[in-house]
Structure formats: C-alpha cells, structure tokens
Amino acid sequence: MSYLQTMPPHDIEAHLAEHDNKSILRFITCGSVDDGKSTLIGRLLYDAKLIFEDQLANLGRVGSPGAANGKEIDLALLLDGLEAEREQGITIDVAYRYFATSKRKFIVADTPGHEEYTRNMVTGASTADLAIILIDSRQGILQQTRRHSYIASLLGIRHVVLAVNKIDLVDFRQQVFDEIVEDYLVFAKELGFASIRPIPISARYGDNVISASANTPWYKGPALLDYLETVELDPTDREKPFRFPVQMVMRPNADFRGYAGQVASGRISVGDPVVVAKSGQRSSVKAIVTYDGNLKTAGEGEAVTLMLSDEVDASRGNMLVAPGSRPFVADQFQAHVIWFDANAMMPGRSYILRTETDSVSATVTTLKHQVNINSFIREAAKSLQMNEVGVCNISTQTPIAFDAYNDNRSTGNFIFVDRVTNATVGAGMIDFPLRRADNVHWHALEVNKGARSAMKNQRPAVLWFTGLSGSGKSTIANTLDRILHARGKHTYLLDGDNVRHGLNRDLGFTEEDRVENIRRVAEVAKLMADAGLIVLVSFISPFRDERRMARELMDEREFIEIFVDTPLDECARRDPKGLYEKALAGKIANFTGVSSPYEAPENPELHLRTVGHEPIDLALEIEEFLDRLMEDK
C-alpha cells in the first residue's frame, strides 16, 4: 500500500473508519504497444509520492534495454515485473496496483497492448469501472485503440479517459489533440460509453498527470488524477434484483442446512420470500448466518450463508432469487464471445461452460457473425480465431440460470473451458435467451424407444467405427452388418462416403465442415437408435471432441466406440480408393493422417488391430462384445 499522507493522524481509529468508507475506483489502462501505459501509471504513482524508496532504488538495479541512464527513471519498470517483459520492453500480463489518495481508493490494472495478449486485457477489463485509453499523439487512432475500446464497451465499462499521450513530442500543439479527439468521438459513438474525457498528457514528463501543465495553456479541463478522484461512478448492484448464486450447501450436522454464496446483486432480509431459479420452488429466508453472528439483512458483495424455511432442492450452480424479478432459465441463448485460444472455436464442438458457480457441457449451435474490430461491421464466419469477437447461439446440456450481461455483469457472464487442455478458451457475455428454448419442448411420444426396441427384441446401440482412411472400418462394419442381419437383428449402416452424397453433400473437408459432418451424422444415428435400431457408423471422425460430442448425445452405454487401428503405412499400402497416392502428392488438402491430424481414441470400448487379423474375426469379436452387453442389462 502506498498512501498519500505526510503527517500521521492523531486519532488513528477515526482516520481508519473514514479511510474504509472511501469510494473505490477500479480502472484499466489500455491502448497500443508503446503508447506509454506502464509509464503513465508509474508517473502517476511517482508524482503522487506513492512509490517506496527501495522500489525506486531497485529501478537502478535492473538492467534493461529500455532503462534510462543518469537522472531520468524508467517508470515502466515499476510495473513490468516479469523477465520477459523487461527483456522485450513490453507488458505481457496484467499488473494490479493499489493506491489511495485523500479522496478515493484505486485499483488499477495495467493491461497489455499486444493483440496476442488480448485475453489479459479482458481479464483486467471484466471488473473495471473506467478505462484509460492511451493514444500516441504522433500516431493517432490505431487498430488496438479500436479493439480495446470495443472490448471495454463489450465488457460493460461505461467511462473512458482518452489520454492523448506524448503530447510533448508534437510540441504541445492543440490542433493535434483536437483532431485525435474528434476522430475518437466519431468512432466511439457506437460504443455507448456514458462519458469520454479527453486529456492531453506527457506521461514521461508528467504534464497534466497530477497537476495542470503550463505547456498546455489551451487545455482547461482537469488533470488526470483530479478527474479519477472525482468522476462519478454508476450506482452499485445493490439496487438491482436479488441474485444469490449457490456456491455450496453447508451441512455440518443434521440440524443445519445452509446455502453459502456471495450476494451477486440486490439485498435480502430475514423473512423475505425467495425462489429457487431453476425449479421455481418458493421459500423464505429463515436466517442469514455468519461467523460474526446472524444478520438481519445482507446486500451485494457480502459472503453469507442463507437458511431457508422450507426444504428445497438447490445445489451448487442454482440461484436463489427475488420472486418478483426472476432471471432467465434456458438451455439456449445468444451471447457475445471473445475467443482466446490458438485452436479456433468450432460450432458443433463441445466445451465446458462455466458461470460463477455452474458448470455444464455446451456447444455453439450457430456462429451468427463475427465483428470486424476496425469497422464494427458484422462479417460471416465459420469459426472464431484467437482474439476475435463473435455473436453465437449456444446450447447447453441442461438449463442454466442467468441475466442479460447488460443488466448484470455477475450473472450474465460465462467462460468456455477446453475439455482436454482445461484452458480457458473464451469469455461470453449473454445477450438473451432464445425464444425457442422457452417454447419448444420435447414432445413426449407415446410409442417410445423402449417400445420400439422391445418389438425388435433388441437393445439399440450406436457402434461408432473410427480410424484412418483405408484402415478397414467399412469392411468390418459390412461384415458385422451381414452377421447381425442374418441373426434377425434390425440394423442400419451409415457410411462416410454415402452420407456425403446426400445429407452432407454441401460440406467440404475444412476443420469446420468436418465438425459439422460428424454432428449431423451423430444426430441421425441418435434418431435411428431412438427408432430401436443397432446403428453402425463408419466414419474417419478424426477429432476426439466430436466423438465425445456424439457419445454425449446417446444414452448411457448406448455408444460403443470401436477403434479400427491400422498403421498409416499399411493404410497407404492398401489404398483401396487411391486417395493416399493423391494426398501424398499434395493433391488433396486436409487429408487425415497426411496433412490433417488424427486423434486416436484414448479409451475406446473396443480396440481392433487389423494387421494380421481377418475382418471376419474382428467382426465376430464385436458381435461377442454386443452379446455380453445385451445380457447384462
């Protein structure tokens, strides 16, 4: 903690109480690389005498290409705390700094300018009230200025300081400043900021940072620190409808059952009615329990444990809410998504969707468009690449409770997590539920799967053959199909090539199209299984994610993954369709095993090695497996 203070107060306790009740401003600095973000924060802290002496002395100890010699201090080094940052003279990750003046407390997130580290800028922006967007006077508005302004607005930041920096390098000319401000205001009109405050600044020399500069007599506005101390903040979420995401159920003994969590918005008092968002069950608050004694009332931000008057079913991921103003509960909704990962976002692929306390399996059903950062024009896209923003329809496996992000930042956000790497690959801001989620319900059919399969005297199954082209999938599947048919079983074989002649003839072989190819086939297989059939699916299906998606569509134990394992050399030697010859000659793009990866199954139900085995023996092995499965139902 740095603390702007020269004389210690006499009454320390009174001073602390006053200090604790100061308002707090959370802000970020953003803008392009070398616009001087870290230098500006360094300058702000230095001029306000908020930097400890040993930290200042340390600036001299750390050698860096950017370090100034002699008297001038490289203020950026106060914040760029990582070796790679000092080596490259750039900011890679968010640095948080905490300081206070006599008027207000501040948390500043110094966020990176590089496009590559957009995810770290989003990290800082998600909780900020205000953004300082830096512009180099000599350069004007750059692509990163637009990107960061757009992301700031998308994440709900309402106030902007336009810091026109390095004004000393354009001889403090008002005309330069005015032109940049005008450009920015035109461009930012669509972004819906509540306020934009332009200030001409030299972070390096401190002009208009903590006091008005004599070098810019034409500028009549406040210095940066004055403005930060006095800018009016939006009302807090305390005035919004009550939302309480259930974090965990506390059951220390048979007499105590409480719901622990942090009030996301609004307030709650003992006796108030509440509703369990997902089920609509009603109850009321019996007690608000904390270590420091029971409370009568609790509001936004407080971490408490609520005891209810009735036994209701609410577990982690559910929400307790105000009966008169409920959140949406839906399994389909539209959201703005920012993608972070080097692996593009694919519609149809399955991700884990995490809200503050809920976690469900989810897929993007439609990527409606992506947003061009420069023009804000909506552009058609099949996938979302790293650092791109898109508008998506999302479908979750089970319904989640949420608000629109514009109404509530806490209950309207989510992240996407990759199922294999566990990386956070995207961030989402929910726009609204899709109407059909409310209106289209599963039609409960009277003649159901059980009835259909009972008539056929069999249990439905989806036998999913995966393996390289030429590995022998279709040969084995055909053989098995003949055997099952001869035994009077009702089957159908879906073959990759055949389906591409009809249902999927509009699809090519790009990664996006392959994902869609598998999605459609999986849906068809599901319908056929529902009709009571034993479905044999013979598809290369190279990606684990899609096979997992197919598995999740089916009922428990219905999906049987069969890995037809043949080495690439052997497949190429067999080459029944002459495809390898063409692929190796570079005539087929995206050919699995040659120019596109094959992700082998990790835990298939059956692993068949074809080399040295006849197709008939392998088919019989599957038949045996099926018989065992049917027996122990």
């Binding site: 903690m1 210690p8 040993d54 930290q55 760029d80 705390g81 905490y98 942090q262 971490a303």
Partner: protein
Amino acid sequence: MSLPHLRRLEAEAIHVIREVVATFSNPVVLYSIGKDSSVLLHLAMKAFYPAKPPFPFLHVDTKWKFREMIEFRDRMARELGFNLLVHVNQDGIDQGIGPFTHGSNIHTHVMKTMALRQALEKYGFDAALAGARRDEEKSRAKERIFSIRSAQHGWDPKRQRPEMWKTYNTRVGQGETMRVFPLSNWTEFDIWQYILRENIPIVPLYFAARRPVVKRDGMLIMVDDHRMPIQPDEAVEERLVRFRTLGCYPLTGAVESEAATLPDILREMLTVRTSERQSRLIDTDEVGAMEKKKREGYF
C-alpha cells in the same frame, strides 16, 4: 451505500476459499505463521462457520524460523483446534543445508521450494491456498487468484489463464495443482487494519521490543539462537526493533521502530517510505529473484 472496502475484501476472500473447497478434492492451506497466514486462517474459520475449515494447514518448516514463530504456531493449532501438518525436507537436514553455510538461494530452494514440492506430493494435495498478495512484489502483482502449476510444480507466466469476473476456472489436469491466493487484492495496510479490527492474534515479533541484533549487509539481523556466527568486526547490540515480515531469521531484517501496539503500527505505516519486502533478502539475491523462485515452485 456500497460495501466498505475491508468488508468487500473479506467477502472476496471467503468466496475464493469456499470455491476451492467446492471444486477440489484435497486442498490444503500453506500456513507460514506470518501476519498474512494469520489473516487467512481467520478467514477460513469464517468461511465454513458453523463448521470448521474442512482442510489441513501445512507448515513447511526450514528449521531456521524464529523460535517465537514456532511457539505461536503450536499454540494456535492447540487453541483453534485445526489440523496442523509440519513438513521438513529431511534430505536438506541430512546434507546440513543452512542459510549461513549455503547462502540464501540454496537454502531457500532446498528447504522451502523442494520441501513444499515434497509435501504436496506426499499428501496428494490438488490445491494449495496461500496468503500471497499482489502488492508485495512486482512478479506477484502479475499472478492470478487461481494459479495453475504444472505436474513439476512450475509456474509459467505465459500459461496463466485469463481470469474474468468471479468466474474461476478451477479445472486441473493429471498431476497438475492449483495455487490459490484469496488475499491477492489486499495491501499491507489492509492486512494491518483487518488484524486490528478483527483482533487477530499475531506473532509478537511484529511489535517493537528490545532485541539482540547484528548489523550485516545493511540489514539488522536478530540473533535468535546460538547458530548465528558473529564475525570479529560485528557486535551484538540491543535495539528497539520490530519485523514487518517474517521468514527464516537469518534472512529477515528487523526495522528500528517504537510501534508496540496495532494502532502504533498503523500510524507508522502511514509515513513509512520503504516497502515491507525490503527486509527480505530472498527477494533481491539475484535479478528477477522472486519470479525465478516461483517458476521452480516457490510461491
């Protein structure tokens, strides 16, 4: 009216502690006996009330801690009734590793970093809560609240997950672990203010008293036991000192101070011109010292 600052920090920390228990199978608190650990312990008691914290507290003992710290540790475990685990790197003891013989770097690596890794593996912990704060040191300023460590315990700043809102990604892969810092957004001043408000017990070394010290490399090192070698040109003197931060006694400098009560300390904090970690030798024993230690698994 918005929630006052300290109440908000407290609620955030409780939320994070609960999140760990809700999503990990075998968490632990790294208890280092210092003021931040004391605050973390207090918050853990609050988070699960009326139950006790459902995880153990682990102290990685280097065998060079101040004697008063160890007495305090054992007293707290007795009084609060929490499950205290103590781990010492026996290999390091067998090799006779120590700060005076091997220097701060090797000592810290073997007796803290390696010891911590041993303990995490021995008990199979998948998440470790600790009291680190972003305002302590500038590589810590860059750390997330939920910070993933590889199966080799390494920290890779470039692999940090984006961390938006209060929506944490708590998933770890095989062998990976999570370090979790519920006090990330607290400052040294917040800690002291909270200790005063909540009346949290802390090691008496934080309060000014007359103690035997030696001036060495610009720092005041307290002579805590007979293992401290006194050079011919050095003299042990009694000075009125206190500690702003506590670690191994040979590596932690005292500061001259008259602050004998919590209000005194807070008053002193308002005028102090140096950072608390100035008195920690291990932060400065090489360039980028803390980041390097963290990459190897120190926290």
